[in-house]
Symmetry: C2
Subunit: 247 residues, 2 copies
């Protein structure tokens, strides 16, 4: 009988994506040292150990709610990071001491959450010591948190093509340009504004409001809302007929 690993701790780490109208950002927190060995300035993703009788989605909700103060965030599991050496001995000691636990191994599960980056949220995260950093400017996170982050971005890019989750990062009423900027930021591409509008309006997923932007020093843009009812699977099947982007 070989040695089966049973004394594992499982954690979740959340990549919380937000959009400020121009850039895609992620929420980072400082490692709370409580330990002279560690630099209080090191940045990490918000995370936690799972508790007894808690599912992973529950743990991820707890973490993202703790970091943002918001309930019912859109949350999606990405990958598991299980390399036995992802946590070195010193880190393991710190984790055990910090959590008051004793374990041989820590496996972590990545999640991403999508939030609307409004003033209230900014204030909350600031109070909590969180930092919203442009995704393409993040570097030097602890352990394998950079891997977890880039994995989350890759998964987000794929997901966003298949469901209207992009709107989770926009205010309830938004301009066409905001949506365009968001997609450009997520994919790192440029989109032709005229063609984008044409496609967008003909798809019927936007509901026009009679409100306009205020206090902008240029022609104010109209605000739109998401038309949730404009989704159907018939279209998906049609799309699938042209099966496979590698063809």
């Amino acid at each position: 009988m070989v040695n089966v690993q049973t004394n594992s701790a499982i954690s979740v780490d959340c990549v919380i994506f937000g959009f400020d109208g121009v850039n895609l950002k992620a929420l980072l927190v400082r490692r709370r040292a409580s330990d002279p060995l560690y630099d209080d300035n090191e940045l990490k993703l918000p995370g936690a150990m799972i508790r007894e009788n808690e599912t992973l989605p529950e743990a991820a909700s707890r973490v993202s709610e703790g970091a943002t103060g918001l309930k019912d965030l859109y949350l999606k599991q990405t990958s598991i990071f299980s390399d036995p050496s992802r946590v070195d001995e010193a880190e393991l000691k710190w984790i055990c001491r910090y959590h008051g636990i004793n374990t041989d191994r820590v496996v972590t599960v990545g999640y991403y959450a999508l939030v609307k980056l409004d003033q209230g949220l900014l204030r909350h995260t600031l109070r909590m010591g969180g930092l919203w950093v442009n995704v393409d400017e993040i570097h030097g996170l602890i352990m394998d948190h950079m891997d977890i982050l880039s994995d989350a971005l890759t998964v987000l890019q794929k997901d966003i093509l298949w469901s209207p989750i992009a709107f989770q990062m926009l205010p309830k009423k938004f301009t066409v340009r905001q949506l365009q900027n968001l997609l450009e930021a997520v994919f790192g591409i440029e989109i032709d504004n005229r063609n984008f509008r044409k496609k967008l309006f003909s798809s019927g997923i936007l509901l026009e409001t009679d409100e306009m932007e205020k206090h902008v020093s240029h022609k104010p843009a109209r605000l739109y809302m998401l038309n949730k009812s404009a989704f159907g699977k018939k279209e998906l099947t049609k799309k699938l007929h042209f099966v496979a982007s590698w063809l």
Copy 2:
């Protein structure tokens, strides 16, 4: 300090997909009872507990190699199944006894593997007591293995659109019809043969061989091979310009 769960066991379960030229199949194994309480006929996905100092991909390789006798399979992680009640008390006892371990909780990680279903493999899996079952006819697996299976199929459908992994399930030399049947089986759709050929050939991903099918009682089809060099990211970026299928 809350109770942090540390005494977890982590397992992997592999959905091994194969294609027989017509149907998409998955490899199932019988639960090895060694226990009068359990019916030896219950079917499950091949799986195992992770060992000390083993990563999850390593464990998944070990499981899929054990089940198929093949090395270097294409393997992809899908989701984690972490519901504390996914394993009921009786199951937990069985697992502990069967593996000679003691644990409070078993969390499992889903993987899928893609294989070429040839005669050698069929013989091997038959000897091992494995069963290749059409994916749409599978039901009644133990625990949450049905969930793991359908999750794997969903992930496969998305993945297959973004990379040429479909060819992992075809022989080195294959007919156009085989590829078409495979895609039809994976997505559950019908594809127009003439248009499919046009698109396929113009994409340049097939290399023509001078071999033909043998011993078929109709006009023999030409065999083709995959042209690995026909992939580039320039095309992907172009596709992304029409961002989002929900538009």
